[in-house]
């Protein structure tokens, strides 16, 4: 775990996508005594979240503008965090640096291609910045080992979790999804390009049409990082919306790999899960694919 050694005293540039996770990361880093510069992404981060904090708006496609401000402030390390909605291309004004970097940066932000992703990081690092994972500067955002919730997995759920982890381990080399739904010891859905929320919707539909027959309140969403995944950019994450998806899908809970999964808004997530009697558990990293 690197919490900023070599460039530890330089301010940290935090490029902020949507959601409250970037602000939580900023607070954790600031609590360690390190100055943080916030760069919320225009059209992606919500202005009201940043109203009371010093910040500089940037566009996803104006890397040059960001780089000038960040360099002037003495930043040598940056973290990108928060969810992204891909901007429409006609809403975008390019600057010269970005024009060159854009295709690879955009792809990196969306994830799903480890090769393009690491190229994107390399390009940013060629601009003189070191890219860190949010968890490296704020390990508090990681899911710890053990249950986060009052509810705990049953024996059957534990068997489903083990099967899901086995499946994700087997498909690790393929740079595909990071999640499966397992009920009654059957893999019922595999995430690929559609993402976790869409996969959970599918489970709800399959239940509604009677094609999944295991009882409502059984079955597990299992998430794990892909093998060789660049965790600085593309770590599996869960949040309150994941719990909502679990409830609609009629599943018993969520299992993620402890220490390599980000939890966004942990208190809301736990409250929502406890209300719905859903378990959320961090499995030992030894089971990490």
């Amino acid at each position: 775990m690197n919490t900023g050694t070599a460039a530890g005293q330089s301010p940290l540039a935090l490029i902020c996508g949507a959601g409250s996770l970037p602000l939580a990361v900023a607070d954790y880093v600031a609590a360690r005594g390190r100055p943080v510069l916030l760069f919320p992404l225009q059209g992606i981060a919500r202005p009201e979240d940043y109203a009371n904090r010093p910040h500089t708006w940037v566009r996803l496609v104006e890397f040059g503008a960001f780089a000038r401000v960040a360099r002037a402030a003495g930043c040598r390390e940056l973290v990108m965090i928060g969810s992204l909605v891909r901007p429409s291309f006609w809403q975008v004004r390019f600057d010269l640096t970005t024009l060159m970097l854009l295709p690879r940066i955009a792809a990196a932000f969306r994830g799903g291609d480890d090769h393009i992703l690491s190229s994107g990081v390399k390009l940013i690092e060629e601009q003189g910045f070191r890219v860190l994972g949010a968890h490296e500067v704020a390990p508090e955002i990681l899911v710890p080992e053990g249950p986060l919730t009052r509810a705990q997995p049953s024996e059957g759920d534990r068997a489903d979790i083990a099967l899901g982890l086995d499946y994700l381990r087997a498909t690790g080399p393929f740079d595909v999804g990071q999640a499966v739904v397992v009920t009654g010891k059957h893999v019922q859905a595999v995430e690929a390009a559609e993402g976790t929320d869409e996969m959970l919707k599918r489970i709800a539909e399959l239940r509604a049409s009677g094609r999944i027959r295991t009882p409502v309140g059984s079955g597990v969403l299992v998430k794990a990082p892909k093998r060789g995944q660049d965790l600085r950019f593309d770590m599996p994450s869960i949040g309150p919306r994941t719990v909502e998806g679990i409830v609609h899908a009629g599943l018993a809970g969520i299992a993620v790999v402890a220490g390599s999964t980000i939890v966004a808004e942990p208190s809301q997530l736990i409250a929502a899960a406890d209300r719905a009697n859903i378990f959320v558990i961090g499995t030992p990293a030894g089971n990490d694919p």
Copy 2:
């Protein structure tokens, strides 16, 4: 390939689900000189398809009734073929034999559980019948090696096919889907409980929302039997509807494993594929997971 050796001269009982495949199988078997008894499934097979042929309607849940007629006619072997829509349980009247067999038979028909499936076959065989695969009595329904269509896979398509087969090989032990969609060397969708048609719809949606960026007209549906799959019951199959799904999903073609994939309505499938410039290819069985 067993085309009926020991009981070869006994009439073949053909339990017919929906579609034209059962009739094609009946014709191929009859052309070999073996008598065929047709047992279309009530509420599943279309009455007009059987109007001009001797037949006995049966219900999925009246195995005892079927067994009496088939035994009286000297049948010792049976084949189940055609697609099934699961009957609503309140539309069903049970007989005693079926009441005992029903849960396992129904599960076997739906597929997706190799263990239950083989138990279903075992139970039917305990009733004195030998269960054969349709391809064993009518090998003509299998996809041969090589392209069936005018269109052929490009170099890129061939790379996608190879990746898809690798993925299916890796997940073979998990009793999950038999199909993936690969575009631009990325697995974009993995079939599990939802089935191939639903997976292709998802690809169409992902394309529409810009989340799959490879050009329309590239990418491949790859299907393969699961390892250890009981091919008598649950062989991968393609038909004209698959081609329709491919067109909507903007893919270039379909690759299946030669000799272990059934093609329903081959002439319609090929005509539809040729109209849309879609390729359909049987890959060598050596690549079979």
